[in-house]
């Protein structure tokens, strides 16, 4: 799997509760908790609590054991984000986070992970470091130290704390390449290699800027590497497209060739426009 794709956490969203009385919600909480599988790769789990009245006991039964398991790394590599627009629920989550030392991030919109804030209060230095990673989504120690003014050693320690507490992920560096710290907002639902071939470039391209910034490697170098890796691993996709193109060329099907050549235009455009906004 490619370097930059490997660095993006997967995004999983669970809606809770699906209505029902308190007792039913508590059963649902237990069921949901028992079905959260161990994550072998970094995963952001978003609990979407919006729209339904939530029983406080059910909330406790779901969030506390789940967040404790995440903090203790019993569930693998998770970050837990709770989405709710209810002020009272946010207050309860803050209390639970402080009381039980839970790594909870809270956002009002599950589609705005960038806006997710830790439920418990952090020291100003740690909050500043967390905010710096959030801003760039992926950062090295040197970048965080540079943007926050915190010393290199302190930044390194604070980042290590944030990783161990479950607020950030870390991609291990090697050689001269330092560790890269990753904010949950960089999570994606896209699974590299499972998309239509027309859009295969875009999963790479969307993250190239952030990866280039985080690693100090030129964007073009990452693009070249990504393409060679992709074509080396998925020659069957190129072979299928080649057969299609050769057939159209033999039959002079220029309309078909135009459709084929522009098949990814919409997907690529969406990615390019997104990057133009940054």
């Amino acid at each position: 799997m490619s370097y930059e794709v490997a660095m993006r956490p997967m995004l999983t969203t669970a809606r809770f509760p699906r209505g029902g009385a308190a007792a039913e919600q508590r059963r649902e909480a237990q069921y949901l908790f028992s079905h959260v599988t161990v994550a072998e790769s970094p995963t952001v789990l978003v609990l979407d609590l919006r729209d339904e009245f939530i029983d406080s006991g059910a909330l406790y039964q779901l969030v506390v054991p789940l967040a404790e398991a995440i903090r203790q790394r019993r569930m693998g590599h998770y970050a837990l984000v709770v989405a709710t627009d209810d002020d009272a629920t946010i207050e309860v989550l803050r209390s639970l986070s402080c009381e039980h030392d839970l790594p909870l991030l809270v956002t009002r919109d599950p589609n705005q992970l960038q806006a997710a804030e830790p439920a418990s209060r952090m020291s100003p230095a740690k909050a500043s470091v967390f905010s710096a990673v959030k801003h760039s989504r992926m950062s090295t120690v040197a970048q965080v130290a540079g943007s926050t003014g915190v010393g290199h050693t302190s930044a390194s320690n604070l980042l290590a704390d944030l990783v161990s507490q479950g607020y950030l992920f870390r991609a291990e560096g090697s050689g001269r390449q330092g560790h890269v710290y990753i904010h949950p907002a960089s999570a994606t639902t896209e699974v590299y290699g499972e998309d239509e071939e027309a859009g295969l470039l875009e999963p790479f391209a969307r993250d190239l800027d952030a990866v280039a910034e985080a690693t100090g490697r030129p964007r073009e170098e990452l693009l070249a590497e990504a393409w060679r890796e992709y074509l080396g691993n998925h020659s069957e996709i190129l072979a299928a497209a080649y057969s299609q193109a050769a057939e159209m060329l033999r039959h002079g099907d220029r309309d078909g060739l135009r459709r084929m050549a522009s098949a990814s235009a919409k997907e690529r455009a969406a990615g390019a426009a997104e990057r133009a906004k940054r």
Partner: protein, 233 residues
């Protein structure tokens, strides 16, 4: 690197009063687009910017004549210089001053190109690729065969290709093709290879190449390379 000149759909409709998909040649009837096309911006001795964006985000001002002002963005990733905004009644410091208007567009997030601008760009480029075959593809292969061991560079549409033919004893002419993937996708790569050597009916006729006979692959161009044996002339 050569840049393509384009006008954003918003600029075309709101600033120039034309259709969102008006061809560039139609828009060139407007003085500011004429100045844009004539690379008036390249001659400016001073660089003035709109807003505070720096680096790759910098929006540059275009001045053409007394009345015409524009805002341009060099989109290095996609090889496009965009005309993002235009104003044809500019009077410095007066209500018709162009620059507060540009600042407002920037503040409202309406200055940079959006989805439909990019979709039009990628569709145009796809059409140019198809327009270039088979003639340009045939010409490039023929030129490479005429100059064995030398690089022949060209474009199929906007896709940059480099061809090298190497004569191999008892085998024949082997064609190496490096394709820049900066502006191509998998299907376009397939079309390029199939158009260059239509005699190679299946992809198995091609081999992945880690370099050209003349050089390594160009990283900034995101080149990938393949080779195949050409049929006898």
């Amino acid at each position: 690197m050569a840049y393509e000149l384009r006008v954003t759909a918003r600029c075309s409709v709101e600033d120039l009063g034309e259709a969102s998909d008006a061809p560039f040649d139609t828009l060139a009837g407007h003085a500011i687009v004429e100045g844009f096309r004539n690379k008036h911006w390249a001659e400016a001795s001073t660089v003035k910017i709109v807003g505070s964006g720096a680096g790759t985000r910098t929006i540059r001002r275009l001045q053409y004549g007394q009345d015409n002002r524009g805002a341009m963005w060099m989109d290095a990733e996609n090889g496009v210089l965009w005309l993002c905004a235009a104003h044809d009644r500019h009077r410095s410091g007066e209500p018709d001053d162009a620059f507060p208007y540009f600042d407002l567009l920037l503040a409202d997030g309406r200055l940079y190109p959006v989805d439909k601008d990019y979709e039009a760009l990628f569709r145009d480029r796809a059409n140019r690729l198809i327009d270039s075959i088979p003639e340009e593809a045939d010409r490039l292969v023929s030129a490479a065969r005429d100059l064995p061991g030398q690089e022949v560079r060209g474009h199929l549409g906007s896709v940059a290709v480099t061809l090298v033919v190497e004569s191999v004893a008892d085998v024949g002419d082997e064609l190496f093709v490096a394709v820049s993937m900066r502006e191509a996708d998998v299907k376009q790569l397939a079309i390029v290879l199939a158009a260059l050597v239509p005699e190679a009916e299946v992809f198995d006729a091609w081999r992945f190449a880690s370099s050209l006979p003349t050089r390594g692959l160009d990283e900034p161009a995101a080149e990938v390379a393949y080779s195949t044996v050409l049929p006898p002339r």
